[in-house]
Point group: C2
Chain length 150, copies 2
């Protein structure tokens, strides 16, 4: 199977990865969540080449993850903002952040960012919970029901 | 910046993506969570070429996400199981699944899998919660504190 066919796999994970499974794409999405709007700022912060950043922005607009809107007429300039579909990638991003925080630093004091939950004021790392019973999710207590993904 | 330098970025998201940001890698991880252990079964279910699957398994072993253990001597055969580091990728996988479920199907009845929380018996889609106060996470109520990722 070619990668471009993965969006037709009968699996939601595969279909999600067909949009955000590219290596640089999630860094563009990270930037959008951190408030970056303009091409030159994405370029600076993502760290990929101009061609790659332009390509990933275009694909994320095509996928309705980012919306592209003019902010200047002469010369024409555009900014990029997360759509509702894009904003719902937050759990993917937060989970990558938490995993990277946990496993990718020799000294956790070197980590540059931490998250504060404004509602309770605590520094925290979001965790998965069941929206029905509210308990934290242990993967061993979750059953995937249905046809086998392939 | 080249992709192979991303693991040195001062950002946990970038460092996490240096391990699992590859397009096929998360499908290999998905398979491991679904119980796949042996090379030929990964090959069948991931849908990539033999070379790609072998390469991603090797990289996941090198990154200590999967552990490779012999299960047969003659001829020698190995199986792959998630390590503790690998099991903690569950929130990334579950979040990709939830997003794919939500946005990548025209008819939600076509989705092949759903998740049941054994503890409460409910069909559910895990959501992010604050481990301190227990409330569901709204991204607009989370502040990233510290130096800017770059």
């Amino acid at each position: 199977m070619k990668w471009r066919e993965v969006d037709r796999q009968q699996c939601s994970v595969a279909r999600a990865l067909s949009v955000v499974g590219d290596r640089w794409t999630m860094l563009v999405v990270r930037e959008a969540f951190l408030g970056t709007r303009r091409f030159e700022d994405f370029l600076e912060h993502v760290g990929a080449s101009r061609n790659i950043v332009a390509d990933r922005l275009r694909k994320l607009v095509d996928a309705d993850v980012l919306a592209r809107r003019p902010y200047q007429d002469a010369p024409p300039r555009y900014e990029y903002k997360l759509t509702a579909k894009g904003r719902e990638l937050y759990p993917v991003l937060a989970s990558l952040l938490a995993w990277g925080d946990r496993w990718m630093w020799e000294d956790e004091n070197d980590r540059p960012l931490h998250l504060v939950h404004d509602r309770c004021g605590q520094r925290m790392s979001p965790q998965l919970a069941c929206p029905c019973c509210g308990e934290a999710i242990d993967p061993r207590e979750v059953t995937a029901v249905g046809e086998r993904a392939s």
